[in-house]
Every structure is written in structure tokens, then in C-alpha cells.
Symmetry: C2
Subunit: 413 residues, 2 copies
């Protein structure tokens, strides 16, 4: 008997359920006798909260709905497992649960922190001669995982940002030259500016694009920002500026820390950022006396499944499938990743990466040579890298005017 358990961890994306769909589909095809979902990742696993995915997805229509459902169908967690030495009890508990349920394979869909979990579980198994194997499948809208060319989830967030930016630019432009109007759009990305950079995709012959892009990779200086905005205002009256939530000054302080009330710390010790756009808008209003609107894309950018990129959803699904294949083959301590074989035409190769130590807890930033520092913009190379990821639309399943989803409560069970 081969039994698989799959979980989702960390911040959700528009297509993380596409990966779950791929895992389930391929796991069944490969011959797993059972495919369990752990609820709320490793946290629910420790409480033995499992569902049998057959109860939901034997019906292929439900699997199609799953692909179109944003957020984590199984629920998520931000549970840090900690080192094996310091948390021996927890690891023993995990393996006793695996043994108790006869689970032979474990797939974790997540970002940096989740790969850390996969690595630790694999290490523990090796050290203790456990038979279970552990596979990681990447997801993150932030695109900050190393090794893989890009992450499932990122392309759909880019497509949302590019589309929304274009709509914001149109909206902001409605006063034409009669009244200077500025929009500061705050985009997710704690340290890496990939998502903020994707706002550059809004530009083409039908749209003038965003006027400036401020990335966390480049130290932010408030006086320079005000001066650059002042210069922009000399050239045009409708200005849309994309800023990362994670903008930092030269000394490493987050710009949004000026707004202390908005700062929270999550259980990984990450600072939860917000308020950057508010602070910059207020500053422009104070210094330049121009109507300035902060727009914060917030969770919409990671949840807008109605604007998912078909390329991204297909890749998320394929990564899930490969994860299930590797799990069935008995591979362990591996992460599925994507290599870009060519860009014109865009071609991706799926593979497994052996040394998961190199993935966990490393954040991939935008290469500095892809950033046009002088003009507060990104270079063509970066746009070339991003463009293929947003191609194609996912046909939504509408009912009564709204896209349909599937939820744990409302399954076919």
C-alpha cells in the first residue's frame, strides 16, 4: 500500500490549488492507494486532521473547480518546525503519525519556509532510517525562491498587477491635463521586487505604462523620491508610481516603519508590512500639494483567480504532477523546479533539484543589472523574463455572474 499525504503552507496564491490538483491527479494515476490532504499544513498534520481527497475529486468537474479556486483549499499555516536537535519530540510525533496512518510519501507545497520543513523531515528520516520520502513543490507569488526559473503563483499575480495597473493608469488619467493626479500603488514583496517590477508589463502601444517603479533592491531616499516626482510632474499630469511594500532606506529601515501602528510581526518573525503607499502619498501631498491616492493591492494580487495566467496555472499543475511522480518513485529531499530552456519560443523543462539545503531560507532578488536605477524602472531583460509568464487566460466557470470555487465545507462529500 502506498499512501500519500499532501499539504499547503505559507501565503496562498491564485494557483496553489492547481498544484494540489496536479498532485492528486498524478498520484492516482501513478498508483497511490490513498491521497490524503493535511489541513493547515504541518500544524494540522500534528493534530491528524486529514481528508481523503477522493471524497472531493473523483468527480473531474470538481478538480476543474479546484484549479480555479484561489487560496489554499486545504488551509495553510505558518508553522516553523525548528531544528531537529531542539524539537526532537515534534519530529518523533510526525513520524509516529505517518507510521500510524501507513503514509509512505509526503508532499509539501510552499515557499522558502516550507522547503525548510521538507529538508528537516528528510534529514530526520535519513538519520533515523525512516522509510517515508519527502518532496517539495514550490509556490510563492513573491518569486523569491532560488534554483527554479520562477515560481508557480508568480505569473498570475503578475497578470493581475499588469492588468490592474493598466486600469489604474486609465482611471488616473481621467482628468487629462486639467489637474495633476498621482496614484501610488503598493505591491507585495517583502525583500524581492519581482511583483512590483511586473507593473512594467502594463506598458504597450495602447498604454503609457507606469511612470516609476521603486524596488526594495534599491535603497530608497525620500528626498530623491520627492524630487523625482516633481520632475515627472513637469512632463505630465497623470502619474502612476509602483512601489514595493518592502522599500528600505540606505540603513535598512523599512519606509513603512515610519508608520509604527501598521507594523506587526508574524510567527516566523517576519515583519508584516503595510502603509508604504500611505506614507509616500502623504509626503507628496505635504511637499508638492498634489492630489495623491494610495492604492494597496493587498491580498487581491494573490487571490485573483479570475485573472489567473493560463501559463502559470498549467505550470502549477505540472509541478504538482511531477511532485507526485517523484513521490511515487521514492525520491526524497527533492524540490520540483522549472528551467527555462528557451524564451522565444518560451519553453520550460520540469526537473527535480537535489540539494534542498540550497533552497531553504534563501531569497532570490532581482539581479541589479536588470534594474534601471537612474530612471526608476526595469530593463528590457526583466520584461522579457516576465512577459511569457502572464500569457493565456483561464476560462472561468461562472454561475450567476460570479466565478465558482470549491471549498472543503462545500465539497461533494
Amino acid at each position: 500500500m502506498k499512501k500519500l499525504v499532501v499539504g499547503q503552507s505559507g501565503g496562498p496564491t491564485s494557483v496553489i490549488n492547481g498544484t494540489l490538483a496536479g498532485v492528486y491527479y498524478e498520484a492516482k494515476k501513478q498508483g497511490f492507494d490513498k491521497v490524503y490532504g493535511m489541513l493547515n499544513g504541518i500544524e494540522g498534520f500534528l493534530e491528524e486532521r486529514f481528508v481523503d481527497l477522493d471524497d472531493y475529486f473523483l468527480d473531474n468537474n470538481n478538480l476543474e473547480l479546484l484549479k480555479r479556486t484561489p487560496s489554499s483549499f486545504l488551509g495553510t499555516c505558518r508553522f516553523k518546525l525548528g531544528s531537529i536537535e531542539d524539537h526532537k519530540d515534534t519530529y518523533e510525533k510526525i513520524f509516529s503519525i505517518l507510521d500510524k496512518h501507513g503514509i509512505t510519501s509526503f508532499i509539501y507545497i510552499g515557499g522558502n519556509d516550507s522547503m525548510d520543513t521538507v529538508q528537516n523531515l528528510c534529514d530526520y528520516a535519513e538519520l533515523n532510517n525512516k522509510r517515508q520520502n519527502f518532496i517539495g513543490v514550490p509556490k510563492t507569488i513573491d518569486n523569491d525562491l532560488p534554483i527554479t526559473d520562477h515560481c508557480p503563483g508568480f505569473g498570475s499575480a503578475c497578470k493581475y498587477i499588469a492588468t490592474t495597473m493598466r486600469e489604474i493608469i486609465q482611471d488616473n488619467n481621467c482628468y487629462g491635463n486639467t489637474k495633476p493626479t498621482i496614484a501610488i500603488v503598493e505591491i507585495m514583496g517583502r525583500h524581492a521586487g519581482w511583483l512590483t517590477a511586473s507593473s512594467a508589463l502594463a506598458k504597450d502601444e495602447s498604454c503609457s505604462g507606469v511612470d516609476a517603479i521603486y524596488l526594495p533592491e534599491i535603497p530608497f531616499d525620500m528626498d530623491t523620491f520627492i524630487e523625482e516626482t516633481r520632475q515627472l510632474l513637469k512632463r505630465k499630469s497623470s502619474i502612476v508610481i509602483a512601489v514595493s511594500e518592502g522599500l528600505k532606506t540606505e540603513d535598512g529601515q523599512f519606509v513603512c516603519e515610519a508608520n509604527d501602528n501598521n507594523l506587526l510581526i508574524d510567527s516566523f518573525g517576519h515583519k508584516q508590512l503595510s502603509g508604504c503607499a500611505d506614507i509616500l502619498s502623504k509626503k507628496i501631498k505635504d511637499e508638492l500639494d498634489i492630489k495623491t491616492r494610495p492604492i494597496i493591492l493587498s491580498t487581491l494580487q494573490r487571490a485573483a483567480a479570475h485573472l489567473a495566467s493560463k501559463t502559470d496555472l498549467d505550470e502549477a499543475y505540472n509541478c504538482g504532477k511531477l511532485g507526485a511522480k517523484l513521490a511515487y518513485k521514492g525520491e526524497s529531499g527533492k524540490m520540483v523546479y522549472m528551467e527555462r530552456v528557451s524564451n522565444h519560443p518560451y519553453k520550460i523543462k520540469y526537473d527535480m533539484f537535489d540539494d534542498i539545503h540550497k533552497i531553504a531560507n534563501v531569497e532570490k532578488m532581482i539581479p541589479l543589472e536588470w534594474i534601471d536605477v537612474e530612471n526608476n524602472y526595469v530593463k528590457e531583460e526583466l520584461i522579457d523574463y516576465l512577459r511569457p509568464l502572464i500569457q493565456g487566460e483561464v476560462k472561468q466557470i461562472y454561475k450567476d455572474g460570479i466565478p465558482q470555487h470549491i471549498t472543503l465545507d462545500k465539497g461533494t462529500k
Copy 2:
């Protein structure tokens, strides 16, 4: 020679350009020799900034792009014409410009304030034996115009809000029962709660819907709000609350006025509101110590043409067509409006309303009997009213993964 000039005024919507497309199409069909667009509404008119719409829309593909382009293609303004007695010079100037260009008809697409303009121009023409005629075509996402069953622009905003709410609910639910999580979603609507109410449409068998809806029609009390949220938390851990930007306390003070920095006044003397969600989130955090995320839909709700309702776009287009027909017939001081002939099946009759005085400067609120005050929700009657307005999807014209628009600069001219 019959010559028409058409303008757009006030806050833009996703489908106000659909109305412009209808005006242009029908004006040509009826036999107008020229169809001018005034740039930035009456403000640009006074500076004789006109474009010949033939330069853009003889090509039917461009007309289709126009229908899918959010914001005001011609640009907008918030210019209040003022009374005839006090601004005689301005009115004289307007009519001298009309005469100079041989313009015989004037169509203004806008909300309450724009209907005020149409009324004044019509009054002036009658008083001074001018031959020009003036027609108003309604638009507003706020749905606060009287007489018409609903306003073009409203349905698409509702569809955006319902879809986005469903995605936010999915996203917010990702921690399941492991961690209480609250999202406070701030929705536009200065005095009328129509848009905020549309969040109720998110609910169906696949989505539990929003947990509470706070409307500006009902006086807001902070202590009651905190207590109601505390009660909600006893029943479930993932909570999504829709609030109007225009929430007011019993004494008529805007809730967001507690946050003085965010308060601006526009040229109509309207207070520009923002910050309600921030204030409520902070309050919940302080009082209940629960992770609470403010999400402000901002201009996205009026600009998200990619999620336009087909019903709404068709109606916007038809209203524009009727406007052009009435203009050609020589009607004046009339507003196009919609009457709901039946709801099952949904059927709309387009007509003209004679007494524009009854429209200008009146705001239509949600009838109190449609609000479930006790449960902070809306009643079935309101949902029945809203549901037909979001039906149908508009096929977007995608290029390189992003919906295409048309702009004044980038026309085929």
C-alpha cells in the same frame, strides 16, 4: 447640418465608454453630420477642446475596444457650472461656442452633478430662445441617481465587488480554525450603500459570503461594532466584513473623520473619504487583539473593465444610443433612464425622463426596508434587485496576456 457634441463628467466607471460608444454609433446612424467629443467635460468645452470622433471610431474594431476601455475616454471634470444668474458670462460663452461650431445637440454623460449642468443649459436655452438641445445620460458606480431603476456603471462595479469579495473570503479563510483572521473591506459610496450592499452577492452554495455589511444608511456605533465582531468570533474564525467608506455615526460624523490626515475636500465640496477600514481594523486589533487586515477596493472597483458585467455594458451602450436618438429628435432637458419591467425574467425598458429638476442633486439611498439592521446584512429583496445587474461576461480583447484599451493619444488618428 446637425452636429452633436458629447462629454463625460464626474467619476469614471468601467462602462462609461460603452455609453460613449452607443452615442457615437447611433448619432451616425441617425444622421448627425458631425459627432464631436469635448475633452474633460464642460471644462474642456469652455476651452474649445474638441475631437472629431470619426478620427477614432470609423473603424468598428476601435469602437469595440472603446467599450472595453475603463475610465473616461474623453477625460472628465468636476466642474460645477453654477446658477444662471450668478454665472451669466459662462453660459453666454458656452452658447457662443456652440454657435461658432454649429453644434445643434449636446449630450452629457454623468451623475447628479452632470444632470444639474444639463438642466441649467436647457433652462438657459429656453430663456434665451437658443436652438440647441441638451440630453443627459446617466452613469455612476454609486447608483445614487433617482428615477432610473439603476445606473450604468453600477452593475460592473457590483460584479467586481462580488467576485473580489469571494476571492478575499477564500484567501482570508486559509488559516481555517487555527487562527482568527479578520478582513475589513472598504467599498466606495459616499452616502448611499448600494455598492457595499453588493458584497452580499458573493454568497452562494460554494461561498459562505461576507459576515457583516455596514451601510452608511444605518448610523454606525463603534462599541456595537466591536461587540458584534466579538460575537462573530465566537461562531467562526475567518471573518470578512464589508464597510462603506461613508459610514457615519448617529450625529452624522463620518467614521473616517477620526483620521484627519486622510480627509480632503474636492471641488464640489464633497469630502473625499478614506481610512474607514484602517480605523476599524486598528480598533479591532486594539480591543480584541485579532489579526485584522484592512482592504480598500479604491478605484479598482470603478476601473475593472476586465470584469465588466455584460448586462451593464449592454445597458450603458443602449442608454447612449437612446441619448443620441433623443438628441437627433430635438428633445431637450431630458435624461435617459431605465425602468425594470420585470425581474424574472429580467427586462428593462429605456425611456426619457422629462423633469430633470427632479434628478439633479438628489441622492437615492437604499430603502431601509431592504436592510437587515439587526444582522448587519441586506434582505433578499435587495439581493434580488442586484443579481440581474451582474449577469454575463464581456469577452476581453487580450494581447500579450493583458486586456487592450484605446486612448486618445493612441487612437487611429
